[in-house]
Every structure is written in structure tokens, then in C-alpha cells.
Symmetry: D2
Subunit: 305 residues, 4 copies
């Protein structure tokens, strides 16, 4: 029999419920494509210590709920997750909070000779970044986070890295013109006093935040990836007043100028090799002045952001 140790923080649920919702009220269909995760927190001690499942809302039930709720439409991922949060915390006394997360994959209409503006019901999946949303609720508060993952960007010039400290282990030379490339993962937190927005507002905020960070990445002459990051975060806060904080995790995807001198060739910033590992990893938060810290919510994000 196990010793009577203490049960610490815990959460459980169903991960990666793959949901495609077709809006077909008109012949011009719309597609929502998501992977949804639902995790509950509350009083689940007896399940752990005694195997008593009386409080364990089955993860299968959580999955069913995702699909049933999709019957009424998905809207924005943020609003869909908020509906799930309200349902689970409202339906079971012992469920006091949880963590609901979504990844959303974008699709574009296929342009055809017959439908140059895009086909009514044929789509090609956009590659590029994934849109993310995360709702964290505990008894006191609900935090809405949104973001994107894997937005890969590159500057072929307009980036340098000089003036860093040199110690006994430093061999890197100053670089006054280098390729700067990264895969942006960003997550922003809506201010608590902004209240829940509607689906259209979340969608607009997503587009505005994405455009702002791309613009700032492109237009910033970069002295350090940290500087680009801070500029991108500032641009997001400029663009969307409801956002209190934005965090980034940005790997520095190193592009090395290939030394072609053994082959009697110069290489004026033209031929680069690309490494997978190791990579630089730059992570930081940019906060609106006076923003609440919301540390408890960030601790449940599952990574720096």
C-alpha cells in the first residue's frame, strides 16, 4: 500500500481531438479545422488515492462534448474554448477550473479556371503557421491567450551581431551582415479587464497581431534577435489594445556563410549552409505598462509561451 503522500497539482482530460466543422448553410462552404485539448482541474483526489472515479468526467465524455458543441458552430477558437470552459465548470461542482487549448489550421479556396475567385467547396491547406488559443480558468480568474506557432521568417540582410562580450570560450567573430532566420512561436494574453471578446474581434486581433509582428521583423534593422523580438512585441501591443502581454520563443536558425576559398571562390553573402542543431533560443515577454503578471496562467501554458 502506498505511503500517504500528498497529491500536488493535477489536471487531466482529452488531448488532440481532431475536429473539422463544415459550415454549409450556403453552397459556398467554410471549413474550421482544429485540434482541441480539454483538461479539467478540481477535486480529483479520490481517483488518485483510491481509484474512485465518481468525480472523473471521462476523457471520452470530454471528447464527445467537443463534437456536440461544434454542432452549433465553432466561431473563433477562443470563443469555442470559452464555451467549453463554461460548460465543464458549470456542470460539475467539483470541477473548479481547467485548461482548454486549440490549434487551428487554415485552408484557402482553390482557384480554378471556372472559379478564379476560389472554388465553393474545394480547399488547399495553407502551410505556414498554426493559430493557437488557450483558455486557463481557476476558481478566481479566466485567462485567454492566443498566438501562433511556426511562422518561419528570414532576412537576407539588415542583421548584424557585434559587441558581445568575449571570454576564454568565445571564438565567434563579429558579423556585420548575416542572415537572420527564426521560426516564431508567439502567445499573447488578453487583458483581464478587456473581458471576453466576440469571435470576430478575436479573429481581427489575430490578423492584426500577425501582421504587426511580420512588419516589425521585416522593417527592424536588427542588432540582435532580442531587439527584433522586442520590436515585434511592441508592434503587437501597438496594434491590439486588448492585449496586455505577448511572449515569444524564437530559435535562431543559424545560416553559416560557406567558406569557398579552398575552391578559389569568394562568397559575398550568397551561399549558406543551414544547421538544424544546436540553435540559439531567444525567449522573452513584452508587457504593457501596468499589466497584471498572470504568472499562474503562464505556468500552465506548457513552455515559455
Amino acid at each position: 500500500m502506498p505511503a500517504p503522500y500528498q497529491l500536488g497539482p493535477n489536471q487531466y482530460g482529452k488531448a488532440q481531438v481532431r475536429l473539422v466543422r463544415v459550415d454549409r448553410d450556403t453552397p459556398r462552404h467554410r471549413v474550421s479545422d482544429l485540434s482541441v485539448t480539454s483538461q479539467l482541474t478540481g477535486d480529483f483526489t479520490a481517483a488518485h488515492t483510491e481509484g474512485d472515479n465518481a468525480h472523473v468526467v471521462a476523457t471520452d465524455t470530454q471528447k464527445n462534448t467537443v463534437y456536440a458543441f461544434a454542432r452549433e458552430g465553432v466561431g473563433a477558437p477562443e470563443t469555442f474554448l470559452l464555451r467549453l470552459a463554461d460548460h465543464f465548470t458549470g456542470s460539475f461542482d467539483w470541477v473548479t477550473g481547467g485548461r482548454w487549448e486549440a490549434e487551428q489550421y487554415a485552408w484557402s479556396r482553390i482557384p480554378t479556371a471556372a472559379s478564379p475567385q476560389g472554388h465553393d467547396h474545394a480547399f488547399v491547406r495553407d502551410g505556414g503557421e498554426t493559430r493557437t488559443a488557450l483558455v486557463v480558468r481557476d476558481s478566481d480568474a479566466t485567462t485567454v491567450l492566443a498566438g501562433l506557432a511556426d511562422l518561419v521568417v528570414l532576412k537576407s540582410t539588415g542583421s548584424e551581431f557585434v559587441g558581445f562580450p568575449r571570454d576564454e570560450f568565445t571564438t565567434l567573430a563579429d558579423a556585420d551582415d548575416r542572415i537572420l532566420a527564426t521560426s516564431v512561436t508567439a502567445r499573447w494574453r488578453y487583458a483581464a479587464d478587456a473581458g471576453p471578446l466576440d469571435a470576430t474581434a478575436y479573429d481581427r486581433a489575430y490578423e492584426a497581431a500577425r501582421a504587426a509582428m511580420l512588419d516589425a521583423f521585416a522593417e527592424t534593422y536588427s542588432l540582435a534577435l532580442q531587439q527584433s523580438l522586442y520590436a515585434m512585441g511592441s508592434a503587437v501591443l501597438d496594434a491590439v489594445p486588448e492585449i496586455a502581454e505577448v511572449r515569444f520563443s524564437m530559435p535562431n536558425k543559424h545560416h553559416f556563410l560557406v567558406d569557398l576559398t579552398p575552391f578559389d571562390l569568394d562568397n559575398p553573402g550568397e551561399v549558406f549552409s543551414v544547421a538544424d542543431r544546436p540553435y540559439g533560443l531567444i525567449e522573452a515577454s513584452v508587457l504593457r505598462d501596468g499589466a497584471d503578471s498572470a504568472d499562474a496562467a503562464w505556468a500552465l501554458v506548457g513552455g515559455f509561451c
Copy 2:
């Protein structure tokens, strides 16, 4: 000492040489981003049976050659691989052929407030499909293949699957309106008598083939994924006269209509779950009449296509 067994088919080289080439002759940069594999065939028996490396052009040398050749520009992946093929078979008597392969990743200019037509040197990587190229040479012949991988498409209606045979293990019901989704991997073979094209022609053929298969996927009312495939292949052959054959490997990415009746809800083709595995897998070739079969080249593709 090993018994004197026979050395069979063999090839060796360097795989996944990651190359980024920046064309910066004007302030409006262009970026070529590739993963290149070079493998040689010929007389390498002594390396296997005696560890005699006199014929073994080092894989490191093959990598260096890729980077050195990029100094003069990349062009289309097909033309770049042909240059490598000519070099290796022309430089070493005992190298009689080989297999040169590339994946190419596309980048778009970032539109900014200051440069709405796209920034001069800041780019965002397109997701979506990867462009592929493969040159196979043996003493007699050179085969140029091109294609794409992971072009993910979906029709939300306009697809059915009925009339299939029913045996003791059949439980699937007829479907007269289903989601049809697949991730297209395609590879086409240029006719031997088309000769090598120039870079612009390979690029145009790529765009034309891609557009043709998307159009055919969208516009075909699909009775079977096989039928869509054949239509897509025919469209490619219609669009690009230099192509002799096109092959597809198309997983049927199953979308299952969720049964919502336990929740007193109907589901008129709106809410779907998506499975990763198992998946249908449909693979076929469409050939121009009278096309040569080129079986030897396809055997080196590394898969159905």
C-alpha cells in the same frame, strides 16, 4: 574473413545538404532554399570487399561540390541537379551514374506598411507543399523527374463512394456525400526526347502541373479517389506536353461524420472527426500514350513516386 559473396546494386553519397542561396545582385534579393542529396553509382566494389577507398569520392567532397556549384547560382532544382550529374560522371572514370535529388522550400516577400508589394530582403516561408526534383543517370540514359510533396487538399462535398464489392469482411456503408481529403505527393517524368529544359521552362512546368492538378481535384465530382487521381494526372499531361508520365501517392485522409444522435442532435454533413491512422493509400501512374516505361529510373525514386 567474409565469404566471397557478390556485391549487388549499390549507391552512396551525401544526403540532405541544406543550401540557402541569396541572389543579391540587386537590392531586391531572391532566396533559393534547398535540401540536396547526391549519390553516385559505378565501380565501388573494392571499397566494399577490401576497404580500398581509391574510388570513393568522399561524401564530404560531394557536399563541398554542391556549395561550390551554388556560387554560380542555383536556377531551377532540375538544372542544378543536372549540373551535378554532369560534373560527377564527367570527372571520375569509374562514376557511371548516380541519383541527385532536391527538395525546395518556397519563400514569399513579407508585405509591410512601407512595402506593400513585399519587402526587398525579408521573407516568410510558405508552408504547404515542397517542390521536388530528381535526376537519375546510368551509363545509357538520364531521366529527369520533378514533383511535389504534401499538397493537402479537401473537398467538403462533391465526393461519394458507392458500388464497391461486399464480402464477409465488409461493413462500410455507401457514402453519397463525404469529405474527400488527401495529401498529394506527385512526381512526373519528362520525356527522354524532350531533352533537358532550361530553368525557366522547368519552373513554368512546375507551376502549370501544380495548377492543373489542383483544378482537376476541385472540379472533378469524385466517385472514387482513384478517379480524382486519374483526372489530376490527365490534367497534368494536358498542361505540360514535355511530361511523359505522372505518378501520385495519395493517402485518403479519412474524415468521419460524428454520430451526434446520442446527444439528440442531427449532423447534416457538418461535424467530422479526423483520423491519422490507418488511412487509405491510392497510388497510380498516368502515362501519355506511347511513353517509354523508364522502369529503371522509377526503381530509384525511393517509393511509388
Copy 3:
């Protein structure tokens, strides 16, 4: 010019430095194979707001330091990371803490006819789980965490799931004999007052914790995966007194009994299909009584554990 927003939490460094260290002081070699990540915290504001790199110890320097430190040997991953933490916080005034992480991959000697006890310098990589270590330091405290990832286990009987609440979205039937399978990711925290252990002690603790959790998984008749988790955590705390807390993230890898009745076959717990997604996800912490909570350290783990 970016608005004067506030820089929030930030960390940066080099990720996934792949290091193989061969101990060859005797002909019977030993191999240490790790992926090491080093991230620094401290005063890096100027890099973000002004692009001033005077404080930015280059990530390349961090990589070099990893390799240089390996020259004196690796020892246990925990002790190797502690050496790095001491170095970086001791060498740069403005570096007040950081996060150093390792994954370690195990190798076994190849048994041969000539060396049935295992070859001196030929190894086969163990699959299975990865050993992990993480050292988190801030100005006040150093936390040592260790663990493993991807230890995949399965019980073919001795598991049930009954007595869970049923609501309008519940369709799952009670299961009184099911397959229970999971991929264990665990991380345990050494008590602050245990002080740093030596390499041998960390290695022994790892083996003891791993064995304890496997034993508890196997021997617990499982009424819920939560119950198995709690038993496994308790067993770890029983086995290693220096551990204050252990956390688990355990996906419930669903195995579904296939309905063979359409084929006039029964299926008495023998034939199962396996799903990838969605999956249950059970996450919890088991704490020794009176253990400090160390929330700040867990927040930097990068996930539940």
C-alpha cells in the same frame, strides 16, 4: 521607434548541443551521449531595447563552453549541468541565473561471439526512454530536477474503468478488463536541503526511481490511470529519500477492443486497434509531506513536467 513597453521574463541561450563524450582511459570505452541546452537569465534589457550586446554572452560561446567542460568528463547529467550553472553565474556579474537542461541517450555494449560480455568499443543504442535532467537557478535558489521521457508501458489485463459520472454527453461503457498503456514522462525534484549529490548518487537515484515506477505500474491493479500514477509517484518517493516531489504526464494510449461480431467472431480481450489521437492525458504531482512547493522552478520546466 517602439513604444516604451516593459520587458518581462526572458531567457536565452543555445539549445540541443549534441555532445558525445568517449571515456577511453582504458580499452574498455564508455560513451556519454547527450543533448544539452543552456539558457541564461539576468540583466539583458539593453539587448532587447537598444540592440546593445555588451551583456549577451553569445550562444556560440555557451556551446563552446559545453564542449570544453566535457573535456574533463561528463559524469551524471545533473552534475554536468550544475558545473555549467556555476560557471555562467560565476563568470558574468549580470548573469543571475538560468536554465540548463540535458537529454541523455543510453548505449549498451554489443555482445559478440568473441566478447559475449559485450564489446570494448562497439555499442548499440538502447531505444526506450530518454533520461532527462534540468537545473534551474535564480539568485536565491538552485533546483535540481531529473526524470525520463517516453517510457512506454502496457498492461494486457488488470485494469478497469468504471463508476465515472454519466451526463448527457457520456457514451462510454464501463470497462472491467481493458488494456492500460501509456508513455510515461516523469520528472522529480530533489529536496533543496538534500544539497547537490555526486554523480554516482544521481545515477543510482535514476535507476531506483525508474525501477520503482515500473514495479508500481506492473503490480497495481488499476481502477484508473490516476491511481496507477499516484502509486508510481509514491513508489518513487519510497525508493529515493532525497526526492521531494515527482510529477508525471501520462497519455492514456487507447487500445480499443475490435468488434468482430459482424464476422461471426468473438473477441475475448484479444484483438485491439490502437489510436494515436485523441488520447487521454493524465498529469499530476505527488509530494512528500512538508515538501516545499518550488513553483518558480516548475514554471520553467516547459510543460507540466
Copy 4:
């Protein structure tokens, strides 16, 4: 309407049917864990050209058949696939052949304090290599291939690479003591005249082939990875008389000696960095004298081997 192009080679079926079979005739359970792919060839022209599914044995039916056949036991993957081949070619006139493939994942009993010889029904998944099997049938012949994937091995000494040709693009120095590491993918072909073996014989052959290649890798002083490969192939042919040919695809997983001289440290073969890409790729076949070539079967393998 598509032009009347010719349908070339084609095959279709269900990929990656995940099957776990528990043999529970005694309390000491046994587990078979496989991913099975079934693809049919024959007359499927009408499905492609007209969307007529009268010949299209549904991929769902193929999946059901896999599960139904597992009710009687799995045996060796080779024998299981042969049963599927016989069924499909024997049940449908127009199915003249196909391609049946399996990956098998190994599990070990968990040793516990109460059951030091391993628990009756609790298992831990072995990592390391995956066992593979492939049956290719056309109207004339059945070819049985077996193998393994991802057997990762390393020699910390006893490997050199010297004497290779030097051209204008060669910069690699001779190495007279290097780490040799590779991830072995091997596939062997049973001689047609060996006939189908029984499950026990296939299992024994697998173990013997695996042991032989490990022994040869370890005991061969390697002048080239090609030489190690040939020795490994010869050892397999020595060990299992029923095998006519064995093919290998072996990436050269480069381990680079780190230059520590900038830090006033020597590095006598002790500290290595490891690269993911690019990598050497060595592929070759070793044939028993007089073995038939079976090129048609290899063309369906989906890669060099």
C-alpha cells in the same frame, strides 16, 4: 473530360492498421504489436477512368480483414502477411497480386520485486529497432522480404577513412581513428526456392540475422562504412541459408572531433559534436552467388531497401 491517357502501374489499400494482439490462453500473456499495410494490384482500371467501384475492395474491408485474421493469432509477421496475400488473391478474381507490409514493435516483460523473471501481463516497450516484413506478390511469384529499421550502432574506435581520391573540391583530411556510427536499415530476401517458412523459422532467422550483423559491425576493423556493410551482409548470408540477398541503407552519422585548442585543451578522441544533416548515405546489396535478382519485388519496397 480527361483525354484518354493510359493507366500505368497502380496499387491501393489501407496503410498503417495498428493492431495489438494479446495471446491470453495462459495467465502469462504474450503481446504482438504491429502496423500492417495492405495494398492490392490487379484490374482496377474502371475505378480510375470511370469511377466504377465494382472491383474496389474497400480499404475499410482490407482493414477489417486484418483484424479478423488476427483473431486466429498473428504468428510471425511474415506468415501473417502471407495469409493476407492468399486471402485477397484467392477471394477476388481481379486481384492478381499486391503488397503487404508490417512493422513490429517488441515488448519485454517488466521485472518486478514479486516477479523478477518478468511480470505475467505488464510490459515495457523495447526501443531500438523495428522489425519489418514485406510480402510482394504478382501473378507469377511471391517474394518474402524481412528486415529491421533504425538499429543504431556506434564504434568509438576501430574505424578509419583514408586513401580516398582528392579533387579540387576535397577538403576532408584523412582520419585514422574516428567514431563510426550508423542507423542500420536492412532488408533481406528469402530465396524463392526456400518456399514459405513457418513462423518459428522466420522468428529464428530474424534473430540470427540481427545478431550476425551486430557481430560483424562490432568485430570488423572498418576502413570504410562500405566495408562494414559488406561484412554485415556476408555475416547475414552466412547465418541464414534461406536468405538469398540482403540490402542495407546506412546513414553515416557524423561525429566530429571538437577543436578545443582555442581553449588550450587537447582532444585525444574524447569530445565529439554530432550533426543531423547532411549525412553520408551508404546503400548496397550483398547477394548469394547465383541468387535470382528479383528486381520487380525490390522496386515495390519503397526505397533502396
